[in-house]
């Protein structure tokens, strides 16, 4: 099948083309769409691109971070103010993937991919969607629920800047130094008077999309982070998850090791 490539200088025009062109897919860095094109995915008839600089814009204040959806993992790694995200960006493939893989693309990566999306979910990110209606904000959590039903173009993500050392991330893989996730865990663990206040924990590769660990979050609330008090959260670590079987691990194995790695992450006593 012949594929048409349409490149737009303005994001709004790209968004309009996505909704009007037959079989249109937006191309970020190419790691997802070009793979599908190479596999002759018949659903792709038009590739839509945009060179709009807003897609690669970074805005960081003391309170808030906004990332253009077209920013690559390499671009994030070059930004010192985003050091808290570097452990996440650094494990998204090798250098040649990181120069292509984008923030926006990761939101649409199928399990077991999507480590960066899990991090953004833990950071309570909102997405800005561009479409014929203009722009509107949608919580990432909501976007992930309906991302496969055809959504508008994500132009940026934004989240409150985490305070020092409240954000933690671990990726568990069978291939070192880097491989596809068996699972990954991102957690934002603000403390007030030494007790967890407003925990957000998210997993990648523990479901069709990255998911929140709500039961574990509830179990942590108001407790200090020590071995005895995190035990109830560890006991419910797998609630609400539906991991897949794949070449990296079986769903059973993922369920078995999740509590182990969540415990280590919460107690800060080692990486997966």
């Amino acid at each position: 099948m012949t594929i048409t490539v349409k490149t737009f200088a303005r994001l709004a025009d790209a968004a309009a083309a996505l909704s009007t062109e037959r079989g249109a897919r937006f191309l970020g860095g190419g790691t997802l769409v070009m793979r599908a094109v190479n596999e002759t995915d018949p659903a792709i008839e038009t590739i839509v691109r945009s060179t709009d600089p807003s897609l690669r814009h970074i805005a960081i204040s003391s309170a808030r971070v906004q990332l253009g959806a077209g920013l690559t993992m390499a671009a994030l790694l070059a930004e010192r103010e985003l050091a808290f995200l570097h452990p996440v960006a650094r494990v998204i493939g090798g250098p040649a993937v990181r120069t292509a893989a984008t923030v926006g693309g990761n939101l649409f990566a199928q399990s077991p991919y999507g480590d960066f999306a899990a991090a953004l979910l833990a950071l309570d990110a909102t997405t800005t969607l561009a479409g014929g209606f203009g722009q509107r904000e949608v919580a990432l959590e909501e976007l992930l629920v309906r991302r496969d039903q055809g959504v508008s173009l994500v132009s940026s993500v934004a989240f409150r800047r985490p305070t020092t050392r409240t954000f933690r991330f671990v990726k568990v893989t069978r291939v070192h130094p880097k491989g596809v996730s068996v699972l990954s865990i991102a957690a934002q663990l603000p403390l007030m008077s030494g007790r967890v206040n407003g925990a957000r924990i998210a997993y990648a590769a523990m479901g069709r999309t990255p998911v929140r660990a709500r039961a574990a979050e509830r179990a942590l609330e108001g407790r200090p982070l020590d071995a005895a008090t995190v035990a109830p959260a560890i006991a419910v670590a797998g609630e609400g998850t539906a991991p897949i079987d794949d070449a990296m691990a079986s769903a059973w194995w993922r369920r078995q090791i999740l509590p182990v790695h969540l415990r280590r992450l919460l107690l800060g006593d080692g990486q997966g």
Binding site: G30, T31, V37, E39, I44, A100, K178
Partner: protein, 158 residues
């Protein structure tokens, strides 16, 4: 419908026509005739198709060729200067860092991307640089040793 595409490949101006949705790997091999760029998986997984686009390592199999308009691309065929091999190529030979050789062009370009920006890499830096490149016969140790050796040679300026 074919689309005109121009870029530089190893310093040479290239003008060609590409199919809609064509990946850079196929264009380099089939339209331009640079067979040093190897195709392994066409999924962005194995790294053997690695080239440098404006100095940055890219997996040519998952790079839309049209997105490379106006860029400068480097492939393994452009490493040597006349009869003189690149220090990386010499080091790969000296360390027996190629057995079947299929991963070698991608390894060389991933290593070049590292050494172009880091003249004194640690072993960890080298491992990270080639972590997206799969080798299934040589083994990684000779490759890592070769890259570290090429870096040493580069620092000596010999």
């Amino acid at each position: 419908m074919k689309t005109p595409l121009q870029f530089r490949l190893n310093g040479e101006e290239i003008a060609t026509f590409v199919d809609g949705g064509a990946n850079l790997l196929d264009v380099l091999r089939e339209s331009v005739g640079d067979l040093s760029v190897k195709g392994g998986c066409w999924q962005g997984t194995c790294g053997t198709c690695t080239v440098l686009v404006d100095g940055a390592p890219r997996l040519s199999c998952v790079t839309l060729a049209e997105s490379c308009a106006g860029t400068s691309i480097e492939s393994a065929s452009g490493l040597r200067r006349g009869a003189d091999l690149h220090p990386l190529q010499i080091a790969f030979m000296a360390h027996f860092a190629a057995q079947c050789g299929y991963c070698t062009p991608g390894m060389l370009m991933a290593a070049k991307a590292l050494l172009d920006h880091n003249h004194n890499p640690s072993r960890e830096d080298v491992v990270d640089a080639i972590c997206g490149n799969i080798c299934r016969c040589t083994g990684y140790e000779p490759i890592i040793a070769a890259i570290l050796d090429a870096a040493r040679v580069g620092r000596r300026g010999t």
